[in-house]
């Protein structure tokens, strides 16, 4: 390809694709052609850039200018102004919520500033569908290094010394796992990449596949060499079509280059791998279930030990590592264990990818050094809570994790601190909640999820989650009893103690952690039939304040069940027997009027005291 003066790095991660990234690509190319710039400017597709809340987005290089919320109508102007005339377009740049002036440069945007990229070092810089792009960014140099100058034991030693721990949730030291498997007598041995990502709101693994599949492949080849493996599996859920497509393409390219297959780079070492698609059962993220699924059996976990590293797939020694763990391996080999182990805390080394979602200004995918505090993540990178609401809690570790309250916002993010706080690192989901979130409702949501996903093998997990769900449903419906709290605690702990796999032993976490930190909310639901966050539908009512209502009919027209009585210039009234508590009236009532209120508990008695519409009184001047 001839040289260009500008490259448009267009994000084509799943989020931006859903937002129309490929249509934007077409429009960009058409406009570039129209302005006669096609010899000077090219559009490069990249994987997930990370700042998903701003999508569809792109970065203009070499200027390093970030544009978000792109739509096709803006493209002709953008091409003419920036690409032709060199005048960057302010209105498409990112403006932090508290500021008026946009921040043009990607490197100056607070969301990116505090991040440290190791596993995601190539995101937004390479085209994930081109192996040459990866190779240009020092791709496969770690493989060169081990094949020409390191023995398998050297490699394992380097990984052990780096302090790398599993990024899938458990946090087991990666090098040690490799060593256990290497010393097993039985052959053949296998390695597996676990890309069965199922936590609600989490998409770290998917993004690594979509933005840089070769880093996973290179990490796995290195692992295979170290452990003594000639065949590997990638287990990915079938709901990730784009990730699987890009990984499949990457595997084909790696084979063409002789990086997979027989006699890799002339070294005499043989290794290849294949993708196995799972149907999206959450329990398959658990390693023994995953192994059963690859073997074609039902996805149920089995008792450990023996651990998979001793006896895994087809009863052979098997190392299973998460996507992110594999992605770290080439960097550790290239830059050395000493460099890696300087990042992070005493027991948690390196960086961690999180998907930062929920009630947060800057939604997206981030990679941060271990030991960073939740406060830095929520306020500096995440840009705080929208609409000046108060931060209430952050849920880490997905449905197996717990909710960490505001009082613990200065907790450093590492394996031990999060566990101590009643949550866990997990694979990296991070859901931020504001004051409008009901913690009992959140606990119910996660139990509903794990209850659906329980494989049913252990009674405690299967029936225990049923029991938790029933009690939580009663509480949120206003039918809670005082003894319920004791039951939740007792049942939660029993499920933890008596279930076999990680799903069962962690599923009570959302309940237990909210009970610990937000007990007052549970008590309000039970004793006062009140939902403090005004979320639980059975415990709230909407009213129209007569002194504020202007009789504009807006809520009346928009009310889906037709529960609002009134006429023009008459005070409107909500018929509580028809109201479905959808909140539409609250949304449509103009902010300067603000006549609709939402109440709970005692306040739900008819506070307005009026039964029939009457004319709006004219204000005295």
């Amino acid at each position: 390809m001839a040289v260009r003066r500008i490259e448009l790095m267009l994000c084509t991660g799943t989020g931006c694709v859903a937002g129309g990234a490929f249509r934007i690509k077409e429009t960009l190319e058409k406009e570039i052609q129209k302005q006669g710039l096609d010899k000077e400017v090219s559009v490069i597709i990249t994987g997930c850039n990370g700042f998903c809340g701003q999508g569809p987005l792109m970065v203009v290089q070499p200027d390093n200018i970030f544009y978000g919320f792109l739509n096709e109508e803006d493209i002709p102007f953008l091409v003419q102004e920036h690409l032709l005339k060199g005048r960057p377009v302010k209105k498409l740049m990112f403006t932090p919520s508290e500021k008026k002036e946009p921040v043009p440069l990607l490197s100056e945007i607070p969301f990116f500033k505090k991040q440290m990229l190791v596993a995601l070092r190539n995101k937004g810089i390479i085209d994930p569908e081109k192996i040459d792009d990866y190779i240009a960014r020092d791709g496969y140099t770690a493989l060169e290094k081990i094949l020409s100058s390191m023995t398998p034991d050297d490699v394992i030693d380097e990984i052990i010394r780096s302090g790398l721990r599993g990024r899938g949730g458990g946090g087991f030291p990666t090098g040690t796992k490799w060593k256990i498997c290497r010393t097993e007598q039985k052959t053949p041995k296998y390695i597996i990449c676990n890309c069965d990502e199922g936590d609600p709101g989490a998409y770290m693994d998917r993004s690594v596949f979509e933005s840089d599949p070769h880093t996973v492949i290179e990490g796995m080849i290195i692992g295979a060499y170290a452990i003594g493996v000639s065949h590997g599996y990638i287990y990915a859920r079938t709901e990730y079509p784009l990730a699987i497509k890009r990984m499949q393409l990457a595997l084909t390219q790696a084979r063409e280059y002789g990086l997979l297959g027989e006699n890799i780079l002339g070294s005499g070492f043989n290794f290849d791998m294949e993708i196995r698609e799972g149907s999206g059962a959450f329990v398959c993220g658990e390693e023994t279930s995953l192994i059963h699924s690859i073997e074609g059996k039902g996805p149920e976990p089995r008792q450990r030990p023996p651990f998979p590293a001793q006896s895994g797939i087809w009863d052979c020694p098997t190392v299973i590592n998460n996507v992110e763990t594999w992605a770290n391996v080439p960097v550790i080999i290239n830059r050395g264990a000493d460099w890696f182990s300087k990042i992070g805390t005493e027991t948690s080394k390196g960086t961690k990818i999180f998907s930062l979602v929920g009630k947060i200004n800057n939604t997206g995918l981030i990679e941060v050094p271990m030991g960073i505090t939740l406060r830095e993540v929520v306020y500096d990178i995440g840009g705080g809570i929208p609409d000046n609401k108060k931060f209430k809690a952050v849920q880490t570790g997905g449905p197996s994790g717990g909710c960490i309250p505001h009082s613990m916002i200065d907790v450093p993010i590492d394996y031990e601190s999060l566990t101590k706080a009643g949550s866990m690192m997990g694979s990296g989901g991070m859901i931020v909640m504001d004051e409008d979130t009901c913690m009992v409702d959140v606990a119910k949501f996660f139990i509903q999820f794990t209850n659906d996903e329980s494989c049913g093998k252990c009674t405690t997990c299967r029936d225990g989650s049923d029991a938790l769900l029933e009690v939580l449903t009663n509480i949120t419906n206003g039918n809670g009893k005082e003894e319920d709290l004791e039951f939740l605690e007792e049942a939660g702990n029993a499920i933890k103690d008596a279930s076999m796999c990680g799903l069962g032993t962690t599923l009570p976490n959302p309940v237990l952690s909210t009970l610990k930190y937000f007990r007052d909310e549970y008590e309000a639901h039970i004793k006062e039939r009140r939902c403090p966050a005004l979320v639980c539908k059975n415990l709230i009512k909407y009213y129209i304040l007569p002194e504020k209502c202007t009789g504009c009919k807006l809520c009346l027209k928009n009310c889906p069940p037709g529960a609002i009585k009134g006429e023009l210039k008459h005070i409107h009234i909500i018929d509580q027997s028809k109201c479905t508590k959808c909140g539409t009236c609250l949304d449509v009532c103009p902010p300067k009027v603000s006549a609709i209120i939402k109440v709970s508990g005692k306040e739900t008695e008819n506070i307005t005291g009026i039964e029939e519409p009457y004319p709006v009184k004219k204000k005295e001047k």
Binding site: G86, E256, L259
Partner: protein
Amino acid sequence: MAPLTLDELRKKRKEARKEIYLREGEYKSKIIVHMGTCGIAAGAREIVSAFLGEIENLTEKNVMLTASGCAGLCSMEPMATVELLNSPSVKYGNLTTDKAKRIFKEHIIGGNIVTEYAIGIGSEKGG
């Protein structure tokens, strides 16, 4: 395609690096072509093509070519500003493709300002 040897992979990497240099942001010099309406009308686009052609011939792509708006001296268009690392920027005016090629060779590569085309050295001071 036949599988690569170690040496072939290294050679491939060297080639591949040239393709992604725009994204890595390490430059020794920067050329800014002024692309206001006046600049474009006076032929700034040909100047861009001329510079781009010169960059193409470089083995190490460490020159950044970018555009900016009108520099305020419309009668001297097409204009370009050349910035070498750690030296003051130099503005050139009344450019032609031949002049651009000479500036590239002597100033960007050679490090010597082409004084006969230069119209100013250093940036304007703000009040």
